[in-house]
């Protein structure tokens, strides 16, 4: 069976990224062989000048459009997840990302202002979610980032978030 056909078809119809393990079990191949198939497909796509490719990391893969044609996708492009988000909402997102799981009170303490509306906005966008309650009187809700947040930052785990200092090193260089 042609693995290229199967893998590309599955990635096309799947409802999101597909984990390598799924392909490995289905096609009885190891990770190295799977990555090799991805490369073959991507080479074919480049040769034929197709506007998408298989993006993969160490865990999963997905079909994505080429970034250079992003501006030409116009209205068919889904709305940006951060559209219209204010700086306070971005601050709140950064705090939750680095302090998670974190309570609303802690977020407000760090920001020095009430953060209720920012949390609601981020929750409605699917970037954060409730992740249990703190075992103290009042049982405040704990917030954490979602899988979608990881996807949008192109990382596989929260542990892959850059150290806070790295942001400042880069900005100084710029």
């Amino acid at each position: 069976m042609n693995n290229k056909k199967v893998i590309s078809a599955i990635l096309l119809v799947s409802d999101g990224p597909v984990e390598h393990e799924y392909f490995q079990n289905l096609l009885e191949i190891n990770q190295e062989e799977l990555i090799s198939v991805f490369s073959e497909i991507n080479n074919d796509l480049i040769t034929t000048e197709i506007g998408f490719y298989i993006k993969h990391d160490s865990i999963k893969s997905d079909i994505v459009t080429n970034s250079e044609i992003s501006d030409l996708l116009g209205d068919v492009k889904p709305p940006a997840i951060l559209r219209g988000l204010s700086t306070p909402a971005l601050e709140t997102l950064a705090i939750i990302a680095y302090e998670q799981p974190v309570t609303k009170l802690k977020i407000s303490e760090i920001r020095g202002v009430e953060s209720e509306s920012s949390i609601k906005t981020l929750e409605s966008r699917g970037l954060i979610e409730k992740k249990g309650e703190l075992d103290v009187p009042g049982n405040p809700i704990l917030y954490a980032t979602t899988e979608l947040f990881l996807q949008k930052l192109d990382i596989t785990s929260i542990s892959n978030l850059p150290m806070i200092g790295e942001y400042f090193n880069n900005s100084e260089e710029e």
Partner: protein, 235 residues
Amino acid sequence: MDNVQVIENLKQLLVEHTSNTEIQIANNLTMIFQSFQNKSLKEDIDSYAEFVLLGASLFELKAKRLLPQDEEVDWLDEVELIKDKDLAFARLLQFKAFTEVGIAMAIKVKETEKEISAFKYYQTSSLSVKPEIQYELDINKFEDTAVEVFSRYKTIQGFSHIDKELPDLQEAIDDLLKIVDKRLNTTFEELLSTVDSSQEAVAFFLALLEAVRWGFIKAEQTNVNKDIIIEKNYE
């Protein structure tokens, strides 16, 4: 040799700088400035500057000693104050840092979104959350059940209410008031004996509550196990 002399004079000034005798200090100063006048020293501008700085530092020390000393400083309060200041400053830095990080994240997300994934569920919070319990659904069984329900629901126990219209609450209130108006008193249980369904019974009970609230009737139940006695409100 001249430099040595200047150093000696400075040393003398340092030794005696705690003295409050103005004559001594004046003498020392005169000696220092005399040694500064030396020609070879003036040519060496670096050394000259260093000596002047040394002299100035010594006078600063002396001046500080002459200032009144506050003996009753509460160092614990001072430490607490510094701690509070440090905390406030740390929080400000932390807040500023998160602002910058938030903006940096937004830039990164914008960059990532240039590559659009082929998946269909954008901005769905439960995208990757798998249910803890998964129900297996047999599509054929489900279809059979659906066909049966929609073809003969009236005959299946528990589905007979599907096409029944819910009773109108206003009508129920009107009916209730008519009955109560005709009798001196009645009970809710008697009223229920005239209804055909549980939906109508609920509507009657809601009508009773509304009528009592508006003051049209009085209702009394002396005991949970007793009947609810209803009578017209003549007040």
